[in-house]
């Protein structure tokens, strides 16, 4: 039986933690990131009994891994 990770979430999200949250590699392609994000969000959706804290973390993780791939797409 694999040992559970210890402690809580990191105070500031890192790429490594983001990859762990989504269960993918840091170098995964954007399509894979989005697919993993979708799957995990469905499992942890707040409206379906999940916790909004975890849902926020999952979104943060996806933003971190998808955002880095794009060449600084800013809204402004």
């Amino acid at each position: 039986m694999r040992q559970f990770y210890k402690g809580g979430f990191l105070p500031e999200m890192t790429r490594r933690e983001a990859a762990l949250i989504l269960g993918i590699r840091e170098s995964a392609a954007e399509a894979k990131v989005k697919e993993a994000h979708r799957r995990i969000m469905i499992a942890n959706h707040p409206d379906a009994g999940g916790s909004s804290y975890i849902a926020t973390k999952v979104n943060e993780a996806k933003d971190m891994l998808v955002g880095k791939k794009r060449s600084g797409s800013s809204m402004f």
């Binding site: 559970f4 990770y5 402690g7 809580g8 999940g50």
Partner: protein
């Protein structure tokens, strides 16, 4: 020092009023030290500042000196604080520091992870834990599953320390036991 020098705000009749370079040359400044000095916007700005009253210069030197002293004091204090921190080892806010590093799970974060309120019953906690644990086992990541487990573990420890009973109300672990028993049964 000020005798023999007089302040003027307008040029003498014979004095030139421009520097001769043309253009924006309408700024005439009479400087106290040198009565005949005619300044205009073409001149170097530093020359203009040099000829302000020496009182301003003294003040400026004082300000710079004061700032230097303050800066040195600040750096020394910072160094001393670092030394103190190293010597004392476990300080009062090392717990806070560890929590900030994410290595220590706080009660508050544990409650947030499970999505429960501060005064939740063990039954509610158990229900949320079971739901999240199963969901993340099926379709989540092992990392999230770990966090859910650690959150429940943290609250369980807290409640046990308070003396609240925390029986295993979930069927997660009993399922696993049944699976193991079933497997051994087949072999036999």
């Amino acid at each position: 020092m000020w005798q023999g020098m007089r302040a003027r705000s307008a040029p003498m009749p014979d004095e030139p009023t421009t520097c001769g370079k043309g253009g924006l040359c309408h700024t005439y400044i009479t400087l106290h030290h040198t009565e005949s000095f005619v300044a205009c916007s073409h001149n170097n700005l530093s020359q203009v500042f040099l000829c302000w009253s020496s009182a301003a210069r003294i003040l400026a030197n004082l300000a710079v000196a004061g700032a230097t002293v303050l800066f040195r004091a600040a750096t020394q204090a910072y160094r001393q604080a670092l030394v103190n921190a190293q010597k004392s080892g476990v300080t009062a806010d090392s717990v806070g520091a560890a929590a900030r590093l994410g290595k220590q799970l706080t009660r508050q974060e544990a409650e947030q992870i499970l999505g429960i309120e501060a005064g939740a019953t063990w039954e509610e906690i158990s229900k949320k834990y079971e739901h999240l644990y199963k969901k993340n086992e099926e379709a989540g990541s092992f990392y999230l599953q770990s966090k859910v487990y650690r959150a429940k573990e943290r609250i369980e420890q807290d409640l046990q320390a308070e003396g609240v009973p925390t029986p295993d109300l979930t069927d997660i672990h009993t399922q696993q036991q049944q699976q193991q028993q079933g497997a051994t049964g087949k072999d036999a």
